[in-house]
């Protein structure tokens, strides 16, 4: 029964990874931008929330403020910097966002030191529901998983049903043709990045409540997010959740089988196996005219 417990934990952990992965998949889908600062931007959001909490604001308000700030940061960052890196050379945004990641990590080190930090959710993070005698569900991981499902459904609905979502998809299909329809690509890209950083802020804060974090935590979560996106298949948000769940399962089951140090390695090995046999992921959706 212990294995069932561990598997349930792994599945729920996948929800957290999916929260980090949604925004990464979104900006790659809309503008083919690989954002290497994505994980660090999520951790930045956690530190912003921490800053508000320290100044006496309650956690829910602090989280909301942090998310709104990151939405604004996303828009400004895209229009003021990242738009200029897009174009013929795919490596430019990678180099620039890599630099950005280093800047964010070091700025956080300066301001908050390398100490482990935590966000306290008032006991929510440690309470659990007993499904049966042996199987217990953590309330907080369950909430995070539900949040991931709701967020994916919301973003998917936005992409499918709204004018903005159609603009994202049209721009992704053919940037120049979209411009001929009256779309300002620079604005569309900035909206996509704003949405992306809004979602990764949620991920960063969710992570910070779940476990301790420090200024370097972003890089790990960037890798997990990449693995989730690639296993799920580019262009599919639900696939991203599946990728997150596979990764979470591999990590927790691996840790259970071989000892706690082996979990992360097992996750990466499973990722490599998926990459070898399904290089385009489980739900890849690419369309060419």
């Amino acid at each position: 029964m212990n294995w069932v417990n561990v598997a349930v934990q792994g599945i729920l952990l996948g929800g957290l990874y999916a929260l980090f992965a949604i925004g990464l998949a979104l900006v790659f889908g809309v503008m083919r931008l690989v954002n290497l600062a994505h994980g660090d931007l999520g951790i930045l959001a956690a530190f912003i929330a921490l800053g508000f909490v320290r100044s006496g604001v309650g956690l829910p308000v602090a989280a909301l403020l942090s998310i709104l700030i990151m939405v604004g940061v996303g828009y400004v960052l895209q229009r003021g910097l990242l738009n200029f890196t897009l174009g013929t050379d795919d490596t430019r945004p990678i180099v620039v966002t890599f630099g950005l990641a280093i800047i964010i990590q070091n700025a956080l080190l300066l301001k908050f030191s390398a100490d482990e930090q935590g966000l306290n959710a008032g006991g929510l993070e440690t309470s659990s529901i007993h499904v049966s005698k042996q199987v217990a569900l953590g309330v907080y991981p369950l909430l995070v998983f539900i949040l991931a499902v709701v967020l994916i459904a919301g973003v998917q609905l936005l992409l499918n049903r709204t004018k903005m979502g159609r603009a994202f998809r049209a721009t992704s299909d053919d940037r120049e043709a979209a411009e001929l329809m009256g779309m300002n690509n620079r604005h569309i890209y900035a909206l996509a990045m704003a949405l992306s950083l809004g979602t990764v802020a949620i991920g960063g804060i969710a992570l910070a409540v779940r476990t301790t974090f420090d200024p370097t935590a972003g890089s790990f979560n960037l890798i997990y997010a990449f693995e989730a996106v690639i296993m799920g298949g580019m262009g599919s948000l639900w696939g991203t959740l599946l990728g997150g769940v596979i990764l979470g399962l591999a990590q927790t089951l691996g840790a259970q089988a071989f000892g706690s140090g082996w979990g992360i390695l097992c996750g990466n090995v499973v990722f490599l196996i998926v990459l070898a046999f399904r290089p385009s992921g489980f739900f890849a959706r690419t369309v060419t005219a």
Binding site: K163, R166, S172, D174, A177, L180, M183, R285, A289
Partner: protein, 232 residues
């Protein structure tokens, strides 16, 4: 004052000059045809009018106002809409969504998804299909319908009949007569010279980045056109 006027427009791709001080005027309600061999600069001119390329010198006037500083996405709102070469429909979007996107930055007006389906009845049963799954002719009809959704006053058509089934080409040529009757001006680039001369009010022939001949189709003799087309 002409509806659309190009004054000494020169366009470059890097060091390569594609248009040499091209001047022409298009009147409102006209079907203005641009013919010429491959690489003569026809598409370059359309892309410059749409705002995708900027002239290095000269200017473009739309209803007497210079529009060179206006970016492509804003020209749609002024009533300039382009059907690009190769159709360029949004492949992952449905037919309906393509038309919805066509109205994104456009003007208010009479065109709706329904009226586009009346213009091209072949599209209606395909409404929920992904544009990628359409035939070339269906995609071209969709590309024209999508351009009309912005309620344009000037439609730029680039190579609209290239490689399509004759039945679709026939319908597109009918539309090229119906649109000016509704007051929409058409500037069309075509390879099929004989065919386009049957619908055009005015024709300009491009040769190596310059206009080698222009006038009303009835005034031009076919050997004149051949000479202007091939530069002989």
């Amino acid at each position: 004052m002409s509806f659309l006027e190009l004054q000494d427009v020169s366009v470059f791709y890097g060091d390569f000059q594609a248009l040499f001080t091209v001047s022409l005027s298009v009147e409102e309600g006209q079907t203005f045809a641009v013919i010429g061999a491959n690489g003569a600069g026809k598409s370059t001119m359309l892309r410059t009018i749409a705002g995708l390329l900027r002239p290095r010198s000269g200017q473009i006037l739309f209803e007497g106002e210079p529009i060179d500083h206006v970016s492509a996405h804003k020209r749609v709102g002024m009533g300039i809409s382009m059907v690009p070469e190769g159709r360029r429909v949004f492949a992952s979007l449905t037919v309906n969504e393509n038309l919805q996107v066509g109205a994104y930055g456009g003007r208010k007006g009479d065109w709706t998804i329904e009226s586009v389906y009346e213009l091209f009845p072949l599209l209606k049963p395909l409404a929920k299909r992904q544009a990628a799954s359409l035939s070339g002719g269906e995609q071209q009809a969709l590309a024209i319908g999508r351009a009309l959704m912005s309620n344009p006053r000037l439609v730029l058509l680039d190579e609209v009949s290239l490689g399509l089934a004759p039945v679709v080409i026939k319908r597109i040529y009918e539309v090229m007569v119906e649109l000016p009757a509704r007051g929409t001006t058409i500037l069309v680039v075509e390879q099929d010279v004989q065919h386009v001369l049957t619908v055009a009010d005015h024709v300009a022939c491009f040769l190596e980045g310059r206009i080698s001949l222009q006038g009303e189709p009835s005034e031009l003799k076919s050997d004149e056109i051949t000479a202007a087309y091939f530069g002989m």
